[in-house]
Amino acid sequence: MNLIRIYGLFLRHFYLITRSFPRILDLIYWPTIQITLWGFISNFFATYSTYYNNAVGIILTCAILYDFLFRTSIGFNMLFLEEIWSRNFTNLFISPMRISEIITSLVGTALIRALIGLVPAILLTSPLFGISILNLGISLFFLFLSLYIFGITLGILVSAGLLRFGPSFENIAWSTMFLIAPFGCIYYPVDILPNFFQKIAYAMPLVYVFEEARRILVDQTLNIENLYKAFLLNTVYLIVAISLFYYSFNQARKKGTLINIGE
């Protein structure tokens, strides 16, 4: 064993981490997010153990909805990352594709990717657990649509970061969904969050989607206002994300990131 060589390899990764803010951020927030998310879930079940009559059904339904959101967002990022990993990024950006065409193409492809994962999950829950997400009725379409738009929005935001900062932003791409999960109130009602966190939660469309899903399953009632709020917020965030993507592209052209993004 050569300690110098061992130290050398350690230095290689140490330099990499200390030169990249996204990598440092990645190290810090993973444990924080995990503890926060599961802390709220535990807290909720400890306090309201009789709240749900059909806890498994609700959790599984919300898990499927969340997975669709996760796959949509990650799917979009994956398509972008594939071009970086395969060193094909330059070929893509010297082709006469407009930014709007790139976004539209990735949005459509991400939907297909998400559906490929979603359909088997929906089909499996019925025979395995006697639960069907289709119990959400016609509202299910609007819940999925809302999650799809938000997933795409997150995907565009992360891709904007990849464009501007290059592959060091990759870890953020993987963990965005976990970062926002505690505020999305996927597995517990928004009331369980501390007041300040509730304000953050209400600023995102997720809380309205998951609150509505639980309301339909528990009370069999629909509050259309929640869906409106989700769509309104989605529209705002989508416009911001697309604008940021254009801004990042222009910045990348100024800073030279497009030239050496594969490195």
Binding site: T90, I94, S95, P96, R253, G256, L258, I259
Partner: protein
């Protein structure tokens, strides 16, 4: 004189560093212009601006009488690029890659175009092979087919024969010579292979520290600097402190 590429006072600054300083040159139709210079001399930055990957800090690029920053998409339809530092997606077959890029460039008779290029570039037998499994020479020819898929008016070549064996390198150079003659395209060739530049280029630009420090035909530069060949001229100019015309 009708130029296909017109570059006027091109500049690129990064913070306080001037990567490209007031570079001007033109490329005629059916001309191969060589771009020489040591590493870090500004060649890649210049090509990056000509491809629209970098926004110039100053100056103007006109291609086929269109201004790049105004007609970026129209210009990108008429140009293409090959470099050993960028690759085609490895998991796709050669045919799939050419089809994808044919679609991105919206080529109307794509099947005929692929047939023509694969015939000329000896790729017929490789069409259904996975690109990542090809040899360096085969990948290079597949990339060249991609670079010509849109029948470009201007082709930018960055070290097009780097890492190729002499036979394949010679094949690529002969192919480029013939293709240029048949299609009257303009080519900007950045290369460190002086015999390649000598063979292909009628005119050469020498870059150093972001500026053009000399230009002319290879023979003119050899005679002007009193050297035996272009490689010696390159070494002289690269090692000199500040030598202008």
């Amino acid at each position: 004189m009708n130029y296909l590429v017109e570059v006027k006072n091109l500049k690129k600054n990064y913070s306080s560093k001037e990567a490209v300083k007031d570079v001007s040159f033109n490329i005629k139709e059916n001309e191969i212009l060589g771009l020489l210079g040591p590493n870090g001399s500004g060649k890649t930055t210049t090509i990056g601006m000509l491809l629209g990957l970098l926004k110039p800090s100053g100056g103007e690029i006109k291609i086929d009488n269109m201004i790049f920053e105004k007609d970026r998409i129209e210009i990108l339809n008429k140009i293409n690029f090959i470099s050993p530092y960028i690759e085609l997606p490895k998991k796709l077959t050669v045919k799939q890659n050419l089809t994808v890029y044919g679609k991105l460039y919206d080529i109307k008779n794509l099947k005929e175009r692929i047939d023509y290029l694969t015939e000329k570039l000896r790729l017929k037998e490789l069409l259904n092979r996975i690109t990542g499994e090809l040899s360096s020479g085969q990948k290079n020819r597949a990339s060249l087919a991609k670079a010509l898929i849109n029948n470009p008016k201007v082709l930018f070549l960055d070290e097009p024969t780097a890492s190729l064996d002499p036979e394949i390198g010679d094949f690529v150079r002969s192919f480029l010579e013939n293709y240029k003659k048949e299609n009257k395209i303009s080519i900007l060739l950045a290369s460190h292979n002086m015999s390649e530049v000598n063979r292909l280029c009628k005119s050469v630009l020498m870059m150093k520290n972001g500026a053009i420090i000399d230009k002319g035909s290879p023979q003119f530069l050899i005679e002007k600097h009193g050297r035996k060949n272009l490689e010696e001229v390159f070494l002289k100019l690269s090692r000199s402190e500040n030598e202008f015309n």
